[in-house]
Symmetry: C3
């Protein structure tokens, strides 16, 4: 299999421009000790390299590139367009964004440009072009990194005008738009495109997170995502003009709500992302997010940023424990990464990220625990050569993740304010994770036929074509898992009339008559035929069987006895409909049955508290075995006797993995 890289990239963000040149020499020496082979440069230097409209000054950048080239680094070249130069804001104030409250901003921060500013576009494009012209032919420039962590919002008049154009392209007529947005509601009927205003705190917004018209607000999210994507494509194309085969990416942010990453990935040569879990983020959620990032293109990805130890912007920025960064890096690769990159290589002297961890700490030398761990990992990765590069994570389970749905579900006013999209998806992902069943995170337009099982929790928005695609998947023998709050609306947030779960009703064989919302102090129970009973809450669907069988029934309240979860045979396949939020064990009971029936297998036959994934190259299966459990864990028998890629040694039967221990056990393909 092919990788985009000739070696595992190991390194990260590097800002020598913030330091004197004597420091650069130290850096090179120290990085070599850590087997660092790549540096991401020029992420935030626009003001420095372009002092005015017509002046560019690449002298410092030239020196950096020369040095890194000399040292045979893979250079990840950023375009510096994620923070505006102060001079530009002074001269062209409209280039700054206007926030949700309608306040036009002054110079400051980053991710601060109005994406529809022609001034911004003109100079960002020009800069990308200049950089490519100057540096793209350098053979050490391995990858282009456009902008940084796209995600700004803007609600200025400029964006308002662009939004109207975007809407005209989408709806063609005012009538179609009035219908799509259900503008008869609250008498919002419009007669002209220029009656449309941006949906923010001064118009349709209800608080920060809700809206009077989800149709408008979802479209505005789509528009903002597209606007930034256009900025990305503009820079990408400027680079392409200079270097048609350049490898181009931008760093994404996992489950970040603002951008439709599946749409973005189509325009990216490779996905890269920044992984910053909090001290209490479950490892299953980190794994899920990696799988989502891999799923964007269904290809290996770059880990563009992680911290060697500490972050600064979270509430409590705990240290990574000894071995944790290493284990976390291997987890990243276990889920599909071909690079391990840090933010950053040398810790800042000032600014709000000065307490963000780095390979070289403020002490300025290599005599730190964090450096030693970084160096150990560098040594290990270097030893792998290209073996794992480009290998894939085969999965028979897909979980649907959809940004339109994310937006729509969380805009919805009622039935419960506690419904969070990512949390809901994670409850399902976690089941597979705990059983080491490989999962692809997939878009709504994925090729479902690749999978034996598809989970689509809270599939609130069912867009055109999905009914047919999902029905075809099930008819052909697939197993679909879906839940409460599914099948409710179409692409513009208008309800699929005729009874919930709308387009899913036939295949699920149920009709949901009502949806009860339970306050946090309220619970019901789901009772199974075998006498077991589990707590449930948040929402309880009042469901009628229309062909499905009940797997569990409510134990309490006036709907006691009604189905809490059902299973329907549809064609050759099955649809499970889970009508309430079950406690973990209750959910596992149902999903275990579904998995077993669907013939979906874990990566290894044993049950274990270890995380185990499998990447497969043309020649080898790599079993990534990682201990995030906090206590010693025996190596599962089926994996003993295999050779560990890291140590080169065979793992004997009876091996034990201590906390944070990792093995990569190899099995030649037959």
């Amino acid at each position: 299999m092919e990788s985009k890289f000739k070696r595992i990239l190991y390194g990260g963000d590097y800002n020598p421009n913030q330091w004197s040149e004597e420091i650069w020499e130290d850096d090179m020496r120290i990085f070599k000790d850590a087997h660092i082979n790549t540096a991401t440069i020029n992420v935030f230097s626009w003001a420095k390299i372009q002092p005015s409209e017509h002046e560019y000054d690449f002298s410092c950048l030239d020196k950096i590139v020369d040095m890194l080239s000399r040292e045979n680094y893979d250079i990840v070249f950023a375009t510096s367009t994620a923070a505006l130069p102060a001079w530009m804001v002074k001269k062209y104030p409209e280039v700054m964004s206007t926030d949700y409250e309608g306040r036009h901003h002054k110079f400051g921060g980053r991710h601060n440009a109005c994406p529809n500013s022609l001034v911004y576009q003109k100079y960002a494009r020009a800069l990308a072009s200049k950089l490519a012209e100057r540096y793209a032919d350098n053979p050490h420039v391995t990858c282009w990194h456009i902008n940084n962590e796209y995600g700004a919002e803007c609600y200025c008049d400029n964006c308002q005008n662009a939004f109207r154009v975007w809407l005209k392209d989408k709806y063609h007529t005012i009538d179609e738009l009035n219908t799509a947005w259900n503008m008869e509601f609250w008498g919002h009927t419009i007669y002209d495109w220029d009656e449309i205003v941006v949906p923010n705190a001064l118009s349709e917004g209800i608080g920060r997170d809700k809206t009077a018209f989800a149709g408008i607000s979802i479209d505005y999210r789509r528009f903002l995502s597209d606007s930034l994507l256009n900025n990305y494509k503009m820079e990408r194309d400027a680079i392409r003009e200079q270097k048609p085969d350049a490898l181009i990416t931008t760093n994404l942010m996992g489950t970040f709500k603002g951008l439709d990453y599946f749409k973005w990935a189509k325009e990216m040569d490779i996905v890269s992302w920044d992984n910053y879990p909090a001290y209490d983020t479950p490892w299953s959620q980190v794994a899920m997010t990696h799988d989502l990032m891999r799923g964007l293109k269904d290809e290996p990805f770059m880990l563009m940023e992680q911290t060697p130890s500490q972050q600064n912007w979270q509430k409590y920025n705990s240290l990574k424990r000894p071995g944790q960064m290493r284990a976390q890096s291997y987890q990243t690769m276990a889920h599909g990464a071909d690079t391990i990159q840090f933010f950053q290589l040398r810790r800042s002297v000032g600014g709000c990220e000065k307490f963000h961890g780095a390979v070289i700490a403020h002490v300025g030398n290599e005599n730190t625990r964090v450096f030693r761990e970084t160096a150990q990992l560098g040594r290990e990765l270097e030893s792998f050569g290209t073996k794992t590069l480009g290998s894939r994570n085969p999965s028979k389970v897909g979980i649907i993740f959809d940004w339109d749905n994310y937006w729509a579900l969380e805009y919805t006013s009622g039935p419960s304010a506690d419904l969070r999209y990512v949390d809901q998806i994670h409850q399902y992902y976690e089941f597979f994770y705990n059983r080491n069943i490989s999962v692809d995170m997939i878009p709504v337009d994925a090729d479902f036929s690749k999978y034996d099982m598809i989970a689509a929790p809270v599939l609130y928005m069912v867009k055109d074509g999905m009914k047919e695609a999902l029905e075809s998947f099930v008819k052909n023998g697939g197993t679909l898992i879906t839940t409460f709050m599914s099948g409710i609306v179409g692409q513009s947030d208008n309800v699929h009339l005729g009874g919930y779960p709308g387009p899913l009703r036939d295949m699920a064989g149920v009709w949901v008559e009502e949806i009860d919302a339970l306050a946090p102090e309220q619970h019901n129970t789901a009772q199974f035929a075998d006498g077991t009973s589990y707590s449930c809450g948040l929402l309880c669907d009042l469901t009628h069987l229309e062909g499905a069988e009940a797997l569990a029934s409510y134990g309490e309240d006036f709907y006691a006895g009604m189905p809490a979860a059902t299973k329907n045979t549809f064609g050759k396949g099955h649809v499970y409909y889970i009508g309430t939020q079950l406690e973990k064990d209750g959910l596992a009971k149902i999903l275990s049955e579904a998995v077993s029936e669907a013939g979906v297998n874990s990566v290894i036959p044993e049950t274990t508290a270890l995380e185990v994934t499998c990447r497969v190259s043309d020649t080898t299966r790599f079993y990534y075995v990682m201990n995030f459990s906090g206590t010693d864990q025996p190596l599962p028998e089926s994996l003993s006797g295999k050779t560990d890629l890291i140590t080169g040694k065979t793992a004997p039967a009876g091996s034990v993995l201590a906390p944070w221990d990792v093995m990569i056990l190899q099995e030649p393909l037959a």
Copy 2:
């Protein structure tokens, strides 16, 4: 007694304009099954029926009115002026309101007009006039419903100018205004009317809810209430011009803080209101709010809106349990309603209220629990004919509710931030509710002589004339209950000097020297002569007897032994002064004595966990008996043997009411 209606109106908000005409036919058929006889139409259609300054298009509305007339509906005709047309905002941006933060809004939402905008006034008046001209003579148009849930705030320059005029009318001279607002404080002395600015976050506001000058801020609330009332009167008068005997209302919102509903009610032909309790609102509070709405005009009222089951905008929108909507509807009538109307008849397909319950759910047919319950209630109500219409709720107890006081009390900085007006009133109401003692919620200018007992909790603001009126009431044998934080200020929030409780001091026979504020974790006790002791907190008055006797004394702290509650004989009557927030049983102990002494009776002689009210027509007493207790309750003996209006059957001795059960037992007047 006379009712405004010829039958019990049963129906609700109906928006066929949001649906295709085929759906209308379904609606008519299904509504008939539910015995629905009224529809509220045209609530939000301004943009639709007026596409520009000079165009009106009533074609769709004509069809709706024709259909409903054909089907013999009572039409409640709304004027559509509660949401601006987008075109109007585009052409006349000043028509939109400016919020408390000083931000002028763009098009969006509803309740969005500046009430002092001449543009708004011109077109709103014109629309009301056009509608009345066209439809008022239709005999099926039973009632006019102006605007919707008035309550918007505006702080624009336009309002600022109008405020100055309003103030000139009130105070005549700058000197009088400087005195009223105590402008010597913090050197706020003004010399010209145009130095006055609106009190918001950019001027006198302290946070969202407090103010540096309560005098200004209370006047601004009065002004805003008057401004919206002027909007109401303007539309009302436009309709009157076309139809002098039209029945005109607007839907109120219970204890909504923004408007002085007692002042509003004087301009309304009938009070109507929208009842949306949360899942955990006590039934006593729902009852209190009904009594308040009845009290506004001391007449039967319309329930303009309730949900058949679920809401959407609350945090947790639970379903109404089977029987709950019916019981709640009867409770509404038990407290004086002559109509039961829903929001809405058919559930929206889109917009932020799409999860708000309706008679017809998204499934679109009558095969739902909610519909069946609606139909059952419709059948029952139809069977009553006109028997209960117009009947009254005779009460010997009045509880004073006053919006000026509400505003002033909650603006006050100190002694405790936890003081909430409605909560305080409810603590007293709840006592009477639990004993099934009928209560009128009355304004400060009520005819007190109708009552044996008046409760005036936290009567913080005592305006001119109230001292005399209350003293006269007590002197003539009445019993007055008042509490801490009473008698403190006059109409402009300036203190009644000379010792708390100011104008109430003589009649209460106490002087309150100090007011201690207790944090939530702090408590004192109130100890009674009989040795019982109850927890108290929030505020503790340090009271001296000036003729009164102590009913209870503090048990702790340096004021142990000082009176916590007192009773004074004044003329032929008594004044109870309760100087602290007592736990429920402690308050009940005092009020039980007061009630007993005052000869105030419960509706029935028995103590019961059932709610029982009595409405009286010219010929009959109707005992509404409702079980909100959650468990079976025996019918009190005094009510057995009477005939149930709902079933037509006699309630035998030993009858039991299950949860949510209701009986309306009739007793002919002697």
Copy 3:
């Protein structure tokens, strides 16, 4: 020793202008009963005494001054410039401030002027000058009180321009500024002074309390402090021109964050401050704040405001218990006050402070507990004559308090969001307080040689010269206590590279490699050689000994065994480095050792739950003994037999102080 006063000033804010002249006569009579001898007047009367640009009207003020002079009051004369006249705002809108959100304000509130408004400056200066010209020669005018509780913030264009000038004066060149603020970070490099914008919510602000560039934001705080100080100096100089020997102050607010009070104190003739603890503020924190206010000039201070009993603007405004106000007043004097002044003498009739306590309550007479307690205290203070005036609080312990550090520490993003400067300082102060060890709160540029021990908790910012000063202090035998988060940055918030704690590393003999942040639910333990163990948390330094010895080691986690607290011998002295937040007893264990070794003594030899301080005049030691413990406490033996200044009686052995009791026991100097 010299005092600024000829008697103990006893009185407070007095606003007869808010009352009719009949009331004034009552006031004079009643105040005399309370032995009140001073009144602070004219605090908020600008609009009244200056009705327009060219008119002044001192008629009312003349009468007030005449009356007070006649009655032989010490007049504290305020300049009235803390609240703008409405007419000025109307005519010159720019005179109002613009808030952190960028919203320019309209007339309202107080502390509302833009400090850099030339209009404000012109008229404020003129007013001060006019007042001084008219009243400064009156021998009863003892003190001038400029403005009131300075502390407003402004972010207007005017301030932006002034900020640029301020920066030019500080940095001279753009390059120096770019370096100081580390503008290479996030590409913020600027090329011209006018690219600089104010750091608020529209630019560098991150939420309300954090910032992208601490260097900018700290400079802006310095600038705002200086801007207001310039306002102060401007008025002061205007008064000086009329009266060169006038005693001039302004009332400060303890640990208020906004102003660098050490810098301010240099411009003030005497420090005065307003003491408003909440109901749950520890007495040790009140004491610390008094010591800070005394420390500003290392001289006795004025208590300009306290409430006789209740406040209004706190959440729960409890009454001061009988004896509490008296005890609290003596505590104030015990820590260095030469005056006791109240806000206010007569309670307001209206406005947001009407529930703020006063000597004369709303009842309007002297028959109140609060008045009686005020009168008792007045009588006592009068009896002291001048004995205590000007006496000092000798201390061998200094605790460093630094506003630059306060700002920098709390702006810092990471490692923990729970780090609060004043809380951290208080944890150390409290130890000394509980042992009755006298403490001076000192600035970073204090003469350290006066002390045996200096505590510098969280000395995050170590500015130029401090390393040398602290090293010299320790070398000469001093004991320095410092903690985690010390020695991190220099004056512009750039890190001292080379290893934490930077400039303190040599003298502390430790290197801190990493800083772990613990969430509130996480803890570690500090284990001492004697087997005792204490909980610790918040932050845990991972420390290496470089000459120091470990006093305690972590008990848990991967850094178990690493030092949690250390002690280093440096020259003749010692440095204690406490690397984590210890529970109270653990901290006390270390500090007890340090105190004992340093030979620092308590004021008295006994351990007691009483607070005891010692003020020393030229002839006498005054032991202030106060019981804040809530229970009876025996008088320590070493104090028995001395004469109580208050009663004139000898305190016999076996004396007991009840709660709130106070003695001032005198001991002639040898």
